[in-house]
């Protein structure tokens, strides 16, 4: 089964080659799925869904409205040789971006034009002159990639503030292994332990060899509360809300417990506006009284417009050529780029600069004429609020349709997570979160209603 785009272009299929033959690394899965048959698969999908319900594997779209994470359990398989390129490229990006942030706040970076960086909503002047523990700003990093086929992975955007999704990656793989044990037959799947990586990273940031660490959540109505709960369980660190923490007379941050208040060394924060949750927390961090994961001000490089200069950051700060390609993008504040974009809108994706989760993403070839005209008008009126990217015909994978009992192609992407420690070492966690777009769409973000899939890297 191969889908065709409106232009008649065939998208690269992860599952099968252009002749319709299942690719070698999917042969085992195809055989296992064939053995179960449509009825068998539907039964397994049903019990998997019950597990997801019972364990409340949720990702809320509207705050407070209950919604489990929709998952398709047919795994995505990444061959090891593809993974080696991905891992090298991801490691390169997090290191280069971290060096850029250190330069931005402590030197005089000249990679990104002033107007671009200083108009970024998440550039924080109060961080200037501040050096975080071990000079690490970005501890947890997630980058969104798409696969164009034959091992060409292309970066679409970097997530540097509070990237979420790693729990869904772990949960999908874990549930698939339990509910579909025959799927793993014949596969040697790369395993990894995020618990050790995270805890070692926390330790590397503190002078205390056994640091007190907490996970700061925005509460049970937040979109990714499942993830906060899951990670605090996995890491064995307390899950705290704003009122559980306070800044003491000595400037340190304390967590309230039943018997006494304990000074905190590392806060794995999953909230953006720190002082809204814990008054004075930003000041405590900037005075070096507590380590924050991630640091303050990382969002300046998370900005979709600043993304344009990541290849230059890699060349400047690491002296290396970028391993991963990235989507060709245009800065609309530049007159020549703006002219080009307005004349070639039909082939482009327009994104709002500060948007996230697939909101404010306009895939122009998929839109009607009236809508296109409105987007063009918006670009002219507010050129600094948007970026344009060349449209990519990226890969599709199969999703099991329980109603029809058949496999259907859908676009997928891959969010890969990495952790950077105080000693500069980077762990890139094999696999990632494969996100599946809705039928007929190229927007894969879970915030836009897409599914996720278990993802394996196989030897």
């Amino acid at each position: 089964m191969v889908a065709a785009s409106a232009k008649g272009v065939r998208f690269y299929s992860e599952w099968q080659d252009s002749g319709g033959r299942v690719r070698p690394h999917y042969a085992g899965l195809a055989e296992a799925a064939g053995g179960l048959g449509s009825g068998g698969l539907a039964g397994r999908w049903d019990s998997a869904r019950r597990r997801v319900d019972l364990e409340a594997v949720t990702f809320y779209l509207d705050p407070g409205s209950y919604r489990v994470m929709p998952t398709d359990f047919l795994p995505r398989v990444i061959p090891l040789e593809h993974w080696e390129t991905i891992a090298a490229g991801v490691s390169q990006r997090i290191r280069a971006i971290n060096r850029f942030l250190a330069d931005l706040y402590n030197g005089g970076q000249d990679v990104v034009p002033d107007e671009v960086i200083y108009t970024s909503q998440y550039f924080y002047p109060e961080v200037q002159g501040f050096r975080p523990p071990k000079d690490v700003f970005v501890h947890i990093y997630g980058v969104d990639l798409v696969h164009l086929g034959d091992g060409r992975y292309v970066a679409l955007e970097d997530n540097l503030r509070i990237p979420s999704g790693i729990s869904y990656q772990l949960k999908a793989v874990g549930l698939a292994a339990e509910i579909l044990p025959e799927f793993t037959d014949g596969y040697e799947i790369l395993s990894y332990d995020i618990r050790d990586s995270y805890l070692n990273m926390f330790r590397s940031l503190s002078g205390n060899p056994e640091p007190v660490c907490v996970l700061l959540t925005d509460g049970k109505y937040g979109a990714a509360f499942f993830e906060h709960r899951y990670l605090s369980d996995l890491l064995g660190i307390p899950l705290v809300e704003g009122p559980d923490l306070y800044v003491g007379q000595d400037g340190r941050v304390y967590v309230r417990t039943l018997d006494r208040d304990i000074p905190v060394d590392v806060i794995y924060r999953r909230v953006e506006d720190l002082d809204l949750f814990v008054p004075g927390l930003r000041g405590a961090y900037l005075e070096g009284k507590v380590a924050l994961v991630n640091g303050i001000g990382t969002g300046a490089a998370d900005d979709k417009l600043v993304f344009l200069w990541v290849p230059q950051m890699i060349e400047r700060y690491l002296g290396e050529a970028p391993v991963l390609e990235q989507a060709v993008s245009y800065n609309l504040a530049d007159l020549d780029s703006r002219r080009y974009v307005l004349e070639n809108l039909d082939g482009l994706v327009i994104k709002t600069r500060q948007g996230y989760g697939g909101l404010g993403v306009f895939v122009m070839p998929d839109l009607g004429a009236a809508y296109k005209a409105r987007v063009a008008n918006n670009i002219l009126q507010n050129p600094l609020m948007f970026i344009a990217q060349e449209t990519l015909d990226f890969s599709q994978h199969m999703v099991f349709n329980e109603q029809s009992g058949s496999l259907e192609p859908r676009h997928i992407d891959l969010r890969v997570f990495a952790a950077q420690s105080g000693d500069g070492s980077v762990s890139v966690f094999p696999g990632g979160l494969t996100r599946v777009a809705l039928p007929g769409s190229r927007i894969t973000n879970n915030s836009s209603g897409g599914l996720c899939k278990p993802t394996w890297v196989v030897r």
Binding site: D114, E115, Y118, T119, Q121, F123, Y124, P125, E126, Q128, D273, D275, L276, P279, R282, G283, A333, L335, Q354, N377, L380, Q381, N382
Partner: protein, 318 residues
Amino acid sequence: MQTDVGGALDTVAASFIYAARYGYSDTVIHNDNQLRVFPREGEGQFAGATELWSVPPGRGVDYQDRFGNRVRRLRVVEPHTTFVVAAAGRVRLSTELPVGYDVSIASLQGLSEGFEYTFISPLVDPDKVAGLAASVADGDGSLLGAVNGVVRWVYENIIYKRGTTSVSTTAEQVLAAGEGVCQDKTHLALGMLRALKIPCRYASGLLTGQTGETHSWVEFYHPNHGWLGADPTKGLILPPARDYVKLGVGRDYTDVSPVTGSFLSKGGTSGIAAIAAVVVDGEQPTLEDALELLEGAYVVQNENVSVGFPIERPERDR
């Protein structure tokens, strides 16, 4: 004594102050702003040193935007319920009358200099006022003739009236209402000039010798003389540079608002006051001078503003 500001011979020195105060109904956790309150260089204006104060001080960084304005990004993270910003400095203003020989509008086409200023912008849609523009411009296709026609028409037909328009009133809304303040007149004139294919920009600043509100006017592009002024509120074209202290230029008000930004608070804005003054031959003003001036300012808006990014401050050029 005029020693601190360089420039051409036929100039006059002036000191200026711009000050604004924002009151909030609850504690503000962070207040993030872009300040365009530095005098520009060029078109008969020579900028001296400018001092910029804020209370609480916050932290800031300066950069130049794509229109050539010097901007300070200032983020105040000290909890506060009042935010004051004040800029003061000296400039030297040319006393010579600008000269502009007339040329055809056709000679302006394809120039890269004015390209940024030929399109729709948030408050100015040339297409919506194109019919009027065509009927007002005299038919010979000359640049100064067109500018004169448009500026005179706006001056004579749009009644100067406060309180009926807002910071977000568009050019076509001004035309429909038939009234407004200097910001509105400038927007309508810009829309008409752009409809006639004349690159033109919004200039924001202060009026020499006056204490009160900020002012706005039009600058249009001339292939030989660069940017030239026209003031639809006063009904003048090519006014003398000495009459204005220019703080910023852009496509319309949204690009040059002196204070733009957002804040995070459980409450809203409880009162905004702003004032500007230009004194010929004045001494370098101090923060105390600015605060004293601000005491005399009246509250220009008193309304709740929702929290988000960005929020245009409801403060206006008159």
